[in-house]
Amino acid sequence: MELTGAEIFVHSLRDEGVDIIFGYPGGAVLHIYDALYNQDKIQHILTRHEQGATHAADGYARSTGKPGVVLVTSGPGATNAVTGIATAYMDSVPLVVFTGQVPTHLIGNDAFQEADNIGITRPCVKHNFLVKDVRDLAETIKKAFYVATTGRPGPVVVDIPKDITAQKTEYHYPDKVSMRSYNPVHVGHAGQIKRAIKLMLKAKRPMLYTGGGVILGNAAGSLTELARLLGFPVTNTLMGLGAYPATDRQFVGMLGMHGTYEANMAMHHCDVLIAIGARFDDRVTGNIEKFCPNARIVHVDIDPSSISKNVKVDVPIVGCVDNVLKAMVKLIKGSKQRPDETTLKDWWQQIEDWRSKDCLKYDRDSDLIKPQYVLDTLYKVTNGDAFVTSDVGQHQMWAAQFYKFDKPRRWINSGGLGTMGFGLPAAMGVQLAHRDETVVCVTGEGSIQMCIQELSTCNQYALPLKIVNLNNRYLGMVRQWQEFFYQGRYAMSYMESLPDFVKLAESYGHVGMQIDKPGDVESALKEAMALKDRLVFMDFITDQAENVYPMIPAGGGQNEMILV
């Protein structure tokens, strides 16, 4: 039987196993919306802005490991989605974004709501497709999911002109596709793995530096096994939090610009660095000239272009992180050799000395609410078991420092692109994937206003998010940099004319609370968590002068942290 392109679209998603999509209708995708109307297999979540749709699909993908799916219209629909696509691209999140396009005969004519979606998204997608023949539609959709979810994951855009969605053809959804130009590597090179193990077993001051790749590659279990087998210290990047249990003694905290003193010092002094699914980002390395001056470096990554991009490595291993780590564990278990206990003990002694600096300490007796205290308390009240999304800025760093993630896929934030406005819609995607779990969005009064309209979506779909708004009336991270590096000239970082967030939340049909005393923080959080089926917006009025410590200043090495 012949189906229209719009019906093929819906059938393809169904056959791909998609049960939820995030989107916003418009002229170019009306045939598709009509086809969605006539079925009940795929739930469509109507966000209030296309950026919200992409972030929500992103949150869904990060928390489940399944691809997030987005459907937006042509022109502004697609351009509004670009920030979300770029966010997913920088953090290697599998998304498939369908954009409507003007009919094929109008492409290039400056038609109403036309934009060059392929051109605009090219630099921020793993790949994109323009469907020019309805007979290619099903296979293109299959390819899009294949490319998005395999190898190093990433967003894929499929641009579908309106006339294609009306034309008819036979429907056949391929079971699998192969592409001669795309063959991701799975297994690491056996010889390189042996070389790496040799180096690791001889290390005097080893360090495991692990990133988002461990989470994306579902390798948290293998990483934990390897780390415990060797007894090495582990640090996670911002994107890797949860890849190794944060409450474990071998965990030395996050590294990088606002990482812990012990993590950064251990990085600086290590003699063998084992980088796993991490990409030596500038926020991690600090000044690259001063980075790990004495270390031989092993780097495991699925993307060859990540290896020796910023830092020259000694033992590159290209492959799925999980496969490589399992191979390492097997080889080490099979051999009699273990790291020398005495030297390792000395190394740990040194690390414990650094740890005893207690670099995350803050004033617990202040009359003002310290943002760190809110996060500390949030961690306690939720038993460390919530899904936490964040926006971007100081609150993001405090959440990363103070919420100890023991499981992967619980910490959802925009690490690479640093997109303000990400937190709330991402939390919606997480909550839709995990209906019975506690989902908290940690945000600030600046970030939350960038996608505040999604409070309406939360009402429509009864999403009981818990929003922790750390309200210091400043774009805090900007303010902090202005204080440190611009002699306190606070250009445009003070947020005037803020809304009454309590009333705002209420007008969207939610519960609003304002908390301005440290003594009320815990009870407020408990009260909010007890409201299981309501979204609660907690507006914490925090200390305006608080800064994120410790900090590696720009141009500094990892051993040059500013402590409180």
Binding site: I118, P123, V147, R180, S181, Y182, S305, K309
Partner: protein, 163 residues
């Protein structure tokens, strides 16, 4: 160092812009770029001349390989290879100057492929250096127009870039 990178890619709309976009987005330079379909119409072959340190060239080849449309690539400069570029030069050729221009063209093994009473159009093939030398040998004032194809390259001997 100068590198000649040959790329086999899917002959699809947009493939060229992916390569060009990659170079501009990552700040690599392109000295010349040529592209045309191969004997297999589903494949295009691109020859790209770029400059960079070993580290940059390594990144360039890795990033190119990462593009979904790129099927296979080869750095010609890794081994013995032949490089050719074609140039069409239109020159003012009048009176006694005509004889001299013919002579210079012959010395460079150029061919005069179009003649009017005031102009010659000379076709010349060779390495970029040779083409540069030819232009230097001409009186600058006589040059009306120069069209260069960009560099094509092929490996010597058995080494080949094919599927």
């Amino acid at each position: 160092m100068r590198h000649i990178i040959s790329i086999l890619m899917e002959n699809e709309a947009g493939a060229l812009s992916r390569v060009a976009g990659l170079f501009s987005a990552r700040g690599y330079n392109i000295e010349s770029l040529t592209v045309a379909p191969t004997e297999d119409p589903s494949l295009s072959r691109m020859t790209l001349v770029t400059r960079g340190t070993d580290e940059i060239i390594e990144q360039i080849t890795k990033q190119l390989n990462k593009l979904i449309d790129v099927v296979k690539l080869m750095d010609m400069t890794d081994g013995p290879h032949i490089e050719r570029e074609m140039m069409l030069t239109k020159v003012r050729a009048e009176a006694h100057g005509r004889e001299e221009l013919k002579r210079v063209s012959d010395i460079f093994r150029g061919r005069i492929i179009d003649v009017t009473d005031k102009t010659y159009t000379i076709e010349l093939t060779g390495t970029g250096d040779k083409l540069d030398a030819f232009l230097l040998a001409l009186d600058r004032a006589l040059i009306i127009e120069v069209v260069r194809s960009g560099v094509s390259g092929i490996a010597r001997g058995e080494r080949a870039l094919k599927l």
